[in-house]
Symmetry: none
C-alpha cells in the first residue's frame, strides 16, 4: 500500500528530540512493500493533527501514527482519530488488565485508565514494554495504525503485532543495496552513471552523499526478496564494471573495516606516522574490533624535530624538500615501518590550514606515504575545505591508498 507516517509531539517541533521513529518505520515499511510518500510531524494539537490525517488519507491507503497515546491531557491521538471517523472509544478489558499488571496498581488512576480506551471495532496492539496499547483502525480500503511514541515501545509493538498485518496487505517488497564509493566526486559519478540515474525504474539507481564519501543505492521492487535481488544483481554488476575499485564496500561496512580485513587476510602488520591527520588514521584503524592483530604502533610527528627523532627523516630531506613533500612522506612511512618492525608504514604530511599555506604549497596540499615490504611511494592530494574537512578527507584517502595497494599486491 502507499503509506504516510505521522509523528505527533510538540517536542519534535521544538527540536527537543530527533524523530528516529519516522526513520525506523520508513525503513521497515519499505522492506514490507509499503512505500512511504510523506512523513509529517505535528504538535499535540487536535485540530492540526486532524487536518494532517484527513489530508494523508486522501493521498494514501495506509497511515502510521506514532505518539500521543499516553496518559496525559496532551495525549490525544486516539481521541482525534475516533472523532474523525465518528467512532466511540470503548474500554478494552484485556488492555486494562495489562496496565494493572504493568503498573502494579489494582485500582487505576483516571489517567492510566484512559489508555485502555480503544476506538470501537479497532484491532488492539498490546504494549509489552509500556502501558499504552496501540491499535489498527480499518475504514473501507484505508487503514490507520496507532503506535506509541517512545521508540522502544513503538518498535516492540511494530515488530511483534503490526508486521503480520502489514505483510498480509502487501503484494510486494522493496530491497535496497548500497554501494560505498571513494575517490570520485558526486558530480563525476553523475556523468558516469547518468543513464542509470535517469532511465532505470526497477531497480532504481540513486546517489547520496555520506560524510566525505558517496554511496549508490540500487532499489528493486518485486513480489519477494529473492526476486528483488535478481533484479538488482545485473545492474549492480554493470555499475561495478563502470566504477571498479572506486567501490570499496557494501552497506554499513566502513573503509577502516575493509582495510583491517585485507591486512588480516594478507597477514601483514601496519604502523602509522601522521602529521596533518594527527591521529585520525590510527584512531580509525584502532576503532575496528580486533585491530590489535595487525596494528602495531602509531606516531604523531607534528614537528620537524619529531619527524627526525621518532622516524629518522633526514635533516637534508626536510631542508631541501620541506616537511610537506613526497620525499618526507616516504621517509616517514619507511621510518615508522623500521622503528616498529611492521610490514607496512602509512604516513601523512600536509597543510590542513587555515594558516601555513603558500602559493607553492597551498592549504589542502597533502602527501600520503606508503611503505609496503620494501616498496615505497607517495601520492599527492589537493584537498579543499576547512581544517576538519581536509583532515577527514586526507584520512580517508590514506586508508584508500592503502586499500588499493593491498588489493593490487594480492593479485
Amino acid at each position: 500500500m502507499r503509506a504516510e507516517i505521522v509523528s505527533v509531539g510538540t517536542e519534535l517541533l521544538l527540536g527537543n528530540i530527533v524523530n528516529t521513529n519516522a526513520h525506523y518505520l520508513s525503513k521497515r515499511l519499505a522492506e514490507l512493500g509499503h512505500f512511504v510518500y510523506r512523513q509529517t510531524a505535528v504538535g499535540d494539537n487536535a485540530k492540526r493533527l486532524s487536518e494532517v490525517l484527513k489530508e494523508a488519507l486522501e493521498r494514501v491507503e495506509l497511515v502510521v501514527i506514532t505518539g500521543g497515546l499516553g496518559p496525559t491531557q496532551d495525549d490525544l491521538t486516539k481521541e482525534t482519530v475516533a472523532k474523525l471517523f465518528g467512532l466511540d472509544l470503548q474500554l478494552d478489558g484485556a488492555s486494562l488488565q495489562r496496565i494493572k499488571e504493568r503498573t502494579g496498581e489494582t485500582v487505576l488512576s483516571k489517567a492510566n485508565q484512559k489508555q485502555a480506551y480503544i476506538p470501537e471495532g479497532a484491532i488492539v496492539l498490546p504494549n509489552d514494554v509500556g502501558t499504552a496499547p496501540g491499535c489498527i483502525i480499518e475504514k473501507g480500503e484505508k487503514a490507520i495504525v496507532l503506535l506509541p511514541g517512545p521508540p522502544r515501545e513503538m518498535k516492540t509493538m511494530f515488530e511483534k503485532y503490526t508486521v503480520k498485518y502489514l505483510e498480509k496487505h502487501s503484494s510486494e517488497v522493496l530491497v535496497s543495496k548500497v554501494l560505498r564509493i571513494f575517490g570520485i566526486r558526486e558530480s563525476q559519478l553523475a556523468g558516469i552513471l547518468k543513464d542509470f540515474f535517469e532511465s532505470y525504474e526497477n531497480p532504481t539507481v540513486a546517489p547520496y552523499a555520506l560524510e566525505g564519501e558517496v554511496t549508490i543505492r540500487i532499489t528493486a521492487r518485486a513480489r519477494g526478496k529473492s526476486e528483488a535481488e535478481k533484479l538488482i544483481m545485473p545492474v549492480e554488476s554493470e555499475i561495478r564494471k563502470k566504477l571498479g575499485e572506486y567501490i570499496y564496500a557494501e552497506g554499513d561496512t566502513t573503509m577502516e573495516e575493509v582495510v583491517i580485513e585485507l591486512l588480516k587476510k594478507a597477514g601483514l602488520s601496519i604502523s602509522t606516522a601522521e602529521s596533518c591527520t594527527g591521529g585520525l588514521v590510527s584512531s580509525r584503524l584502532i576503532n575496528v574490533p580486533g585491530a590489535s592483530e595487525v596494528f602495531k604502533e602509531g606516531v604523531i610527528a607534528y614537528s620537524n624535530e619529531s619527524k627526525k627523532n621518532l622516524l629518522g627523516v633526514a635533516s637534508e630531506t626536510l631542508r631541501t624538500f620541506g616537511a610537506v613533500s613526497p620525499r618526507t612522506a616516504i621517509e616517514m612511512a619507511r621510518g615508522i615501518a623500521a622503528v616498529s618492525g611492521s610490514n607496512i608504514g602509512l604516513a601523512t604530511t600536509g597543510i590542513a590550514g587555515p594558516g601555513g599555506g603558500t602559493k607553492e604549497k597551498p592549504v589542502g596540499l597533502v602527501y600520503v606515504g606508503l611503505w609496503l615490504n620494501g616498496e615505497e611511494k607517495a601520492e599527492e592530494l589537493r584537498l579543499h575545505g576547512d581544517r576538519n574537512w581536509i583532515r577527514l578527507r586526507a584520512t580517508l584517502h590514506a586508508l584508500n591508498i592503502l586499500r588499493k595497494a593491498l588489493i593490487s599486491q594480492s593479485k
Copy 2:
C-alpha cells in the same frame, strides 16, 4: 513568523538516513522566535514537492527547505520552487567562482554548473563547506529558505548566513547561553539543578546531552538581545556557583580548545602516548588551529612492545601490573615527556572492548596518566558502553584531567 520545515530526499522516505536536519532547524527556529507548526519529509519528486510547498505556504509565512540542491538530476528543489513562483533560474557569478575554487576545476562540468543557478531576485546563501549554494526567496509576506541537505553544509549556511535574516523578521528574540559540563552525570545534574529545571520560566533552564557531554541551556525570551542577556546573567551566576569547575566552557568552545588555550597561556608543551584511545586525544588537540605551538608529538603504543620501545615502560611494570594499570599509565606519560622533551606527557591505557575484559579488569577500565614538569599521577575511569563510546569518553576524560591540572597549577 509561523514556520514549516520541508526535508527533501527519497533517502528519508526509504529510511536510509535519520532526519537530523529537521531537529536542528526546529530548535534553532524556536530560539530565533519562529515557531515550527509542521515538519514534512518528501521524496525527490517535483510534483509531490510542489504540492507540499503550496500547502505549507497556505498555512505559514516561513518555509525552510533542506536538500535537493546538489549537482544530479535528482536534485530539483530550486527548479521546483522557481517554477512554483514563475521565476527564472539565473547563473550567479559569485557562486560559480566559489564552486570552481572548492572543486579546484577551472572548467566546470554541466552538473557542477547547475548548482550555481539561482532563482531570479533571490538572496544567495554562500556554501563555505560544500559546493551547492542556498538562497532565500521572498514573495509578498512569505519567505522560502533553501538549504543543502548534508548536515554540516546546512548548519554552516544556516548559522553564518541565514540567522541574521531570520532575526530581522522576528519581533521577539530567544537568547540562549550554553554552559558545557564535564565530569558529572545528567541524572546527578538533574538533582543539583532540580529547581532551575522545574520552576524557571524566563529564562528557562534545560539540560541537553551532546556526544559524551552534557550541556545546560539557559534561554530567555525578550524584545531585544541585551534585555534577554540581563535575564540570563543572574541565573547563570547561580548555576556557576553550584557547578564550579564542572563547567569547562561556554557555547561552541570545545574541551580541546580550552586545553590548548591553557597550555599557550602557561607556555607549556605537550606530547601524548595513547593505547586504547588510539590517536583520538592527539587528533582532537591537533584539530585546534595553532596547536603546533604547544603540541610536540604523539605516540600510539597499542602493543606491549611499543610501550617498551617507544616510551620506555619497564618490562617489570608490564609483567607485574599489566598494560592496563596506573603504573603503566604513569610510565607512558613520563616516557613520552622524556622522549619528546615536553613539559607534559598525557597517556591513556585501557580496555575498550568488546573483547579483552576480565572480572578484575573489565571492559571500560581505563587509566589516564599525567606527567607535568616532574609531578605525575594516574586516574582510574570505569566507563560503560560500546568500543566507540568508551574511547570517546576516555579521550574527553583525559583532556579534562589535563584541564583541571593546568587550572590548579596556575593558581
